[in-house]
């Protein structure tokens, strides 16, 4: 099996988790209620912890140690989808992003737990249990706010319209897609997107919201090959500000 293909797969998962975890942590201390403040922090901790699990797998395959990989790369070396790097914005956008992303992640871990690569299957199997609570959380809030006041419905709809083309970018195909599918490593992005869309549509149907129609040209691809919005580099610069004072030091 092509090791590059597996590494590419692991990098995009790990980078997604790290960047979204970082974004979710920005709500600490300023959430709309104390309970949501705490919930976003929990999800942030899970995500950063999950990214570490994948960076460790990469380290076992000969890549640099997790701290170096996470804190020393530039934006064009990151494989995350653009959705996760967008600024946290208001709670409506953060909630919609969490909903769209975590359903994709849940489907991804479910499928990866069947992977022919045992190390990946083991990690995915464990994380499947964690992500369940993230989708439960998203479900409750989307159904609540998507049916509550005119303002909450309008806000969520507008955030959904903005986020959806980016969310479809989660499923940007790897250059090694066929290889991964044929070797049973991963079911592939197209299949994943189909499963995701069904679940997302099912929740949206229970609200006053409408999934927007997006043309292929409007989908925000590029993140997986290091093409990012202008928001990623400032995030990375901030994240590594202290680490880079002395990357060889123990902090």
């Amino acid at each position: 099996m092509n090791q590059l293909a597996i590494k590419e797969l692991l990098y995009k998962i790990a980078d997604d988790q790290l960047i979204l975890g970082h974004r979710n942590s920005e709500w600490t201390g300023v959430g709309p209620t104390l309970e949501e403040d705490i919930a976003f922090s929990s999800m942030a901790q899970d995500k950063v912890g999950q990214s570490l699990a994948f960076y460790k797998l990469l380290h076992n395959m000969g890549e640099n140690d997790p701290d170096t990989v996470a804190f020393m790369r530039n934006a064009e070396q990151f494989h995350n989808c653009q959705l996760v790097e967008l600024p946290s914005g208001e709670y409506d956008f953060s909630l919609i992003r969490h909903f769209l992303f975590d359903f994709a992640e849940s489907a991804r871990f479910r499928r990866l737990s069947e992977s022919s690569v045992k190390d990946i299957a083991d990690v995915a199997n464990k994380l499947k249990g964690e992500i369940k609570y993230h989708t439960m959380h998203a479900n409750i809030w989307i159904k609540k706010l998507g049916n509550a006041t005119d303002e909450s419905i309008e806000r969520l709809q507008s955030a959904l319209n903005y986020a959806f083309p980016y969310a479809l970018g989660i499923f940007e195909k790897s250059p090694f897609e066929t290889d991964l599918i044929e070797n049973g490593v991963f079911v592939g992005e197209a299949q994943l997107q189909e499963e995701w869309l069904e679940e997302v549509q099912n929740v949206i149907n229970q609200t006053q919201l409408i999934l927007p129609t997006v043309t292929d040209e409007e989908i925000k691809y590029g993140g997986r090959i290091g093409k990012h919005t202008n928001h990623l580099q400032p995030l990375l610069t901030e994240m590594s500000e202290v680490f880079k004072i002395d990357p060889t030091a123990e902090w």
Binding site: H22, S25, E26, T28, G29, V30, G31, P32, T33, L34, E35, E36, D37, I38, S41, S42, A44, Q45, V48, G49, L52, P66, D67, A70, F71, E90, Y91, K144, L145, N147, A148, T149, D150, E151, S152, I153, R155, N205, Q206, T207, Q208, L235, E238, M239, E241, V242, F243, I245, D246, A249, E250, W251
Partner: protein, 329 residues
């Protein structure tokens, strides 16, 4: 995290207690003297209720405002270990606020009202959070020493008379013990690290020493008379007692790390077994507590902005307009 130096209301004892039933008051005091806890539905003097609301509310505000100076370092924490630990640590502080607002609510004041009083400046929070955390090292000194100070104060208060507050404090102290370990561990790494790291942590300690001495509140000789609050087990130890305990426990640990405490007069008097130190500037303390500190405006502005940005969410969950879902077919 929370320090002593609660701002208790001036007590006009003759008038504060004149409307209370003397028999009920005597029974109440006897229960406290026997070490019983007072529960929300029990009879209590109006003054007891008022002072407890004030104290628990200040404590809750301190947790939520205290999340801000350290919270700004979550996105900059160096390495996975610190990033994950700091996220969990600051999350705990927000969780403490939640617990404490709930404890204060049992006395009749709603959370929304308390937060409103915080934002409009009517109620106070711990003064120490009005100082900035300039560097990563500041955040580690806060996690270690401010939390250490808070534990001294909170352990004492957890032996108080009001049941819901004591139970909240028991849980809080258990979590703070982890914060202390995290903070100490981080400071150890800096103070035994590179020259740059040692310089960072020494500079942070220099900045935080005066706020730490202020943290326990003015000297007992300058403090409001609180005899009745002591008898009612609302106030469990004096500011000087807490400060002495903190110095006793942490000065040796700070010195062990090769750090210098920026007070040449700091030493333990072997005869009295008390620490002697330069009195911090109490005029500065007063200025800061009255709103004129380096970060008062910023802290309240951040909190106010968070409340404004989240208003639509709270409105939506409090007063949902139930709309039937339109059938698709």
């Amino acid at each position: 995290m929370y320090g002593g130096g609660n701002s208790f209301e001036h007590l006009d004892l003759d008038r504060s207690l004149e409307n209370e039933d003397p028999q009920l008051l005597a029974e109440f005091e006897a229960r406290i003297a026997r070490g019983e806890k007072i529960e929300p539905s029990d009879w209590m003097p109006a003054l007891y209720r008022k002072q407890l609301i004030r104290m628990i509310e200040q404590h809750a505000h301190s947790e939520i405002i205290g999340a801000l100076p350290e919270g700004t370092w979550i996105t900059r924490a160096p390495g996975f270990k610190r990033k994950m630990a700091l996220m969990a640590k600051v999350q705990d502080e927000v969780g403490h606020a939640q617990l404490l607002y709930a404890a204060a609510e049992t006395l009749g004041k709603p959370r929304e009202k308390m937060i409103e009083d915080l934002i409009n400046g009517k109620s106070k929070y711990s003064n120490i959070f009005n100082y900035p955390a300039y560097t990563w090292a500041d955040s580690t000194v806060i996690s270690w020493l401010v939390d250490a100070g808070a534990i001294v104060n909170q352990l004492a208060n957890s032996k108080g008379s009001y049941g819901p507050y004591c139970r909240a404090l028991d849980r809080i102290c258990a979590e703070e013990a982890f914060h202390l370990k995290y903070g100490h561990h981080s400071v150890i790494h800096l103070s035994t690290g590179s020259a740059k790291q040692r310089e960072m942590v020494q500079a942070a300690l220099n900045r935080w020493w005066t706020p730490l001495m202020h943290f326990f509140g003015p000297p007992d000789k300058m403090s409001t008379h609180t005899e009745i609050l002591t008898r009612w087990k609302v106030k469990m130890s004096t500011n000087d007692e807490n400060r002495q305990q903190f110095l006793d426990m942490y000065v040796p640990k700070i010195w062990d790390l090769g750090l210098t405490i920026p007070d040449p007069n700091l030493k333990k008097n072997e005869t009295t077994e008390k620490w002697e130190y330069t009195e911090p500037d109490w005029e500065e303390f007063k200025r800061v507590i009255n709103g004129d500190g380096p970060c008062n405006k910023e802290r309240l502005a951040v909190r106010r902005r968070a409340e404004e940005r989240g208003a639509w969410v709270r409105k939506a969950i409090m007063k949902p307009v139930e709309k039937p879902v339109t059938p698709l077919a």
